[in-house]
């Protein structure tokens, strides 16, 4: 099908964009890469009266190191740009690993890093990865600026804390501690299809080889990307033995998450996948941390 009519605005800077959002509120939708918004407009699931196209706002396209050793990603940076960026590869190899499963190369050439976060799809890779990396979002409106941690940003399926007059402008990722390890695992039915379950894991070890921190973030198991808090607690301060990893993965799959079932995947199968993937991912992440 073809999209319904809309007014088209293409600002060239953030101030202009914010003014338009303040003026139109719910009457306008932000157009980033359009790889989710345009399909839903073509289906007429979405019929926004106006679009605010950010593709000419050059100041929103960047990847730069932050003073504390982390990285800041401008919201409009294309997924493929992030995927192949040398600084990102060096500091956060988990991002490229997860993006490998995200849609297809042609979609990642147009889709944006911030768009994937703002879209808040519970089956998307990047919200879970940013949650595992303990990232935070920089949000602007004409009223000013606020920062929201990934843990508070995602509210429900396709719903974030963003208000209609607000723009996500940047995703900031803090540096990972020394002796860190990462892993991304997922199961899908075919290349580029939605993950049945996915898990992004970041861990770090102390000098004695005990787990200093663990962040285990699932996708496709609930209304948002979900942190497995109890599993992480079991690991923290302990030696990550195979038995402990088994037990933590079991807790993650059976206590920390409340997955639903659908025609592709029953609840039981989802929990099974969550446990196996979490076990594999934790094992790999701790192994990498110990190197």
């Amino acid at each position: 099908m073809k999209p319904a009519s809309f007014e088209y605005y293409a600002p060239t800077n953030v101030d202009e964009a914010l003014a338009r959002l303040a003026e139109l509120g719910y009457g306008v939708k932000v157009l980033a890469g359009g790889q989710s918004l345009v399909p839903s407009m073509n289906f007429r699931l979405a019929q926004p009266p106006a679009l605010l196209d950010l593709n000419n706002v050059q100041e929103l396209f960047y990847i730069r190191p932050t003073s504390d050793g982390g990285v800041a990603i401008g919201t409009m940076t294309r997924d493929s740009q992030v995927e192949h960026d040398a600084l990102i590869k060096e500091k956060f190899p988990i991002i490229a690993a997860a993006m490998h499963f995200m849609a297809h190369p042609q979609i990642r050439n147009r889709g944006t890093f911030g768009g994937a976060i703002a879209h808040a799809d519970p089956t998307a890779q990047l919200p879970a990865v940013v949650l595992a990396l303990n990232g935070r979002m920089r949000i602007r409106s004409q009223q000013g600026e606020r920062w929201v941690a990934a843990e508070e940003f995602f509210v429900g399926p396709f719903t974030s804390v963003l208000e209609p007059e607000e723009l996500l402008v940047e995703v900031e990722l803090p540096p990972t501690p020394a002796h860190s390890g990462w892993s991304y695992r997922q199961m899908e039915r075919q290349a580029g299809a939605q993950a049945l379950v996915g898990v992004a894991v970041m861990v770090s070890l102390d000098e004695a080889g005990k787990c200093r921190s663990a962040r285990i973030a699932f996708l496709s198991v609930g209304e948002t990307a979900v942190l497995a808090r109890q599993a992480a607690q079991m690991l923290t301060g302990q030696k990550p033995t195979a038995e402990l990893i088994h037990a933590a993965a079991e807790t993650a799959a059976n206590v920390d998450i409340e997955p639903g079932g659908d025609i592709h995947c029953s609840v039981e199968y989802r929990r099974h996948l969550a446990e196996v993937l979490a076990r594999q991912a934790l094992t790999e992440a701790f192994e990498r941390a110990g190197r």
């Binding site: 809309f6 359009g34 073509n42 493929s80 042609q106 147009r110 580029g192």
Partner: protein
Amino acid sequence: MSDLINVKVTVNGMAYEREVEPRMLLVDFIRHELGLTGTHVGCEHGVCGTCTILFDGSPVRSCLLFAVQAVGHEIRTIEGLGTIDHLHPVQEAFREAHGAQCGFCTPGMIMSVLPFLEENQDPTEQEIREAIDGNLCRCTGYQHIIQAVELASDKLAEQRQSVKEGR
């Protein structure tokens, strides 16, 4: 209807100018306004890949862009490759290796592998499979397409070699 917007774009090296509604998809602009029907439309939601074009050199879905977003950008479609008498090496490879049956997916396949083969001069079969994982084909079962891409890679290598030798 919203106001018409003036769209100036370069497609296959030619400058075009049209007045269109903002809601016009780029693929419809290319096909209906410019008459370049080599770019196909399958699903209109980004899944099938047959509408793939090069946008400033990168393969993207033209069903997920509005024509007004192409203002000032360079577009390349299948018509910008070879001619019937002088096929582009990638087109020639698809012909020789039977990479096309009905041909519906072919333009999208070729536009997807074109920049891929520039970046990967000696791709593995796995890399080829991943390069076309966003392009559906309902006819070939993909084997001949993969062989066509392998052949295209050889042809492009030959071409580079002969350019180097000044032939």
